[in-house]
Symmetry: C2
Subunit: 294 residues, 2 copies
């Protein structure tokens, strides 16, 4: 990982984690429910989405504490989607980030409810932010709802289920990922632009960057499933091939997938050329995403 | 059902149903996902929550089309909670409102995702309303998030799961229901007050009314589970006793439950005495809730 990115993560990771803890701890709610929510929030995610909110905001010189709240909201959505995705009726995963999945520890009913509560809480924390105009909150809530719902992440999960039964073509596979993982990554990046009152032109460039980063992220995920070990990944490796899942390596061969990954990396960097701000950090982020090994 | 209430429902039910259809139909999302969402929305609920939004708004002379959007949002939350509640890992119900439950028709994975999408969509439709100030939207979104999340409905479902393993006392049982069903009923009633700029005093009286209506609603549910037939209820009757569930009849005997029901009915009517508006419709609503047979 490049040096500037490492410093940036060191500077902000604790604040992101503390905001997540705070937003759940403060709830007047059954103890086991909060434990179940916190268990998955604490399970050691890389916090890429909240970090993007902070990075983009900072690029436009917006440095208020609300960046962590927006980051926490998107991490709650990401975490709830993992909890539900791991359920026996969905992907049936026992292991996530090297730890037993939520339903293995708390049971399926509680895992379902903890996911529901995190989904709902994400919108609540956005609505309750201080020092942000109501107009901006409404814009963020609308963007998050579109990104995470039927038109975004959940829709992508449905397309993904569909892709387990038949071989998707490249354009269908892109559609899955633009929705399933791309939409909330795009939200994270766009939210930074909303918070910092970036121009519509800058926002457009960032959305283009987000699109290619999102696809690159997913292609690297597919490649890691082939090349990585379960220990490295903290989840069962080789699962895609076993379940006949539509993936980039399956469609394009491993070399073809790596070439595609590099293409999207280049497109992401090109999009940043349209910005006059210092984009070093976002470039390092892109580099990290294509070279990470877990 | 009293005449005024019947006329009121006839006047508004179609608009509520059309708004629900519209908000799902307009989504650019996978066809099967939309079908699964619409299946449960169309499954013939009584629309009590949206009708409360409209009734309270109308009492304060607010008659804009946004009442149906807020009503649709709360019905989406109610419907998603039923879909998830019926899952095999939760209550494991095959029948709801006389029809096969969502997962029986669409499978568990799709039912989970359709529920998630409805939960998310509820906040999106509130954020996208026209002719409502951003401040008011934020207030409604915050209220709905609290009412439906860990501090409200979902928290109540967790307490309810807990109550399947041991006998709750009356105060614990009240807490379950104030959260599980009471919180979003209260939201529906409070939302009408928010939309129509009711005074804080009026709002306080309505919240008191909502509290007793919510408890009365649940007690009548428990009584119907004992006295009703599966045909009448559209779901399996007698299930509570069979599963040793904590209920009002189990705690207080059937006669004691009926007396409690009547007490809450009276308290609800008393709360309305504090309002100078015409409360006839809300009184008829209360009467309907305690005398309904399904």
């Amino acid at each position: 990982m490049n040096n500037r990115l490492k410093l940036f993560i060191n500077e902000h990771l604790d604040y992101i984690n503390r905001e997540l803890e705070y937003q759940v701890e403060r709830l007047v709610a059954p103890h086991t429910l909060k434990e179940s929510m916190l268990y998955s929030l604490r399970a050691g995610g890389k916090r890429i989405r909240p970090l993007f909110v902070v990075a983009v905001s900072e690029m436009f010189n917006y440095k208020q504490k609300e960046v962590y709240t927006v980051g926490a909201a998107v991490e709650m959505i990401h975490t709830y989607s993992l909890i539900h995705d791991d359920l026996p009726s969905m992907d049936n995963d026992d292991l996530r980030r090297g730890k037993p999945t939520n339903h293995v520890v708390f049971g399926e009913a509680m895992a379902t409810l903890a996911g529901d509560a995190l989904n709902t809480l994400a919108f609540g924390v956005l609505a309750r932010m201080e020092n942000i105009s109501a107009d901006k909150k409404v814009e963020l809530i609308n963007l998050l709802s579109v990104a995470s719902g039927a038109e975004g992440m959940v829709g992508g999960q449905v397309l993904d289920l569909d892709g387990e039964n038949r071989q998707l073509n490249l354009s269908e596979l892109e559609q899955v990922h633009l929705n399933k993982t791309g939409a909330i990554l795009r939200f994270s990046i766009e939210a930074g632009a909303v918070l910092s009152d970036a121009t519509m032109e800058a926002r457009k460039a960032l959305i283009e960057y987000a699109r290619h980063i999102g696809l690159a992220f997913q292609i690297q995920d597919d490649i890691l499933d082939v090349e990585g070990t379960s220990e490295q990944l903290g989840k069962t490796a080789g699962k895609d091939e076993e379940s006949n899942k539509s993936t980039y390596p399956a469609l394009l061969t491993l070399d073809g997938a790596k070439q595609k990954l590099n293409e999207h990396y280049q497109y992401a960097l090109n999009a940043l050329d349209n910005l006059s701000e210092d984009t070093t950090l976002l470039r390092e982020f892109a580099n990290y995403i294509i070279s990470r090994n877990n």
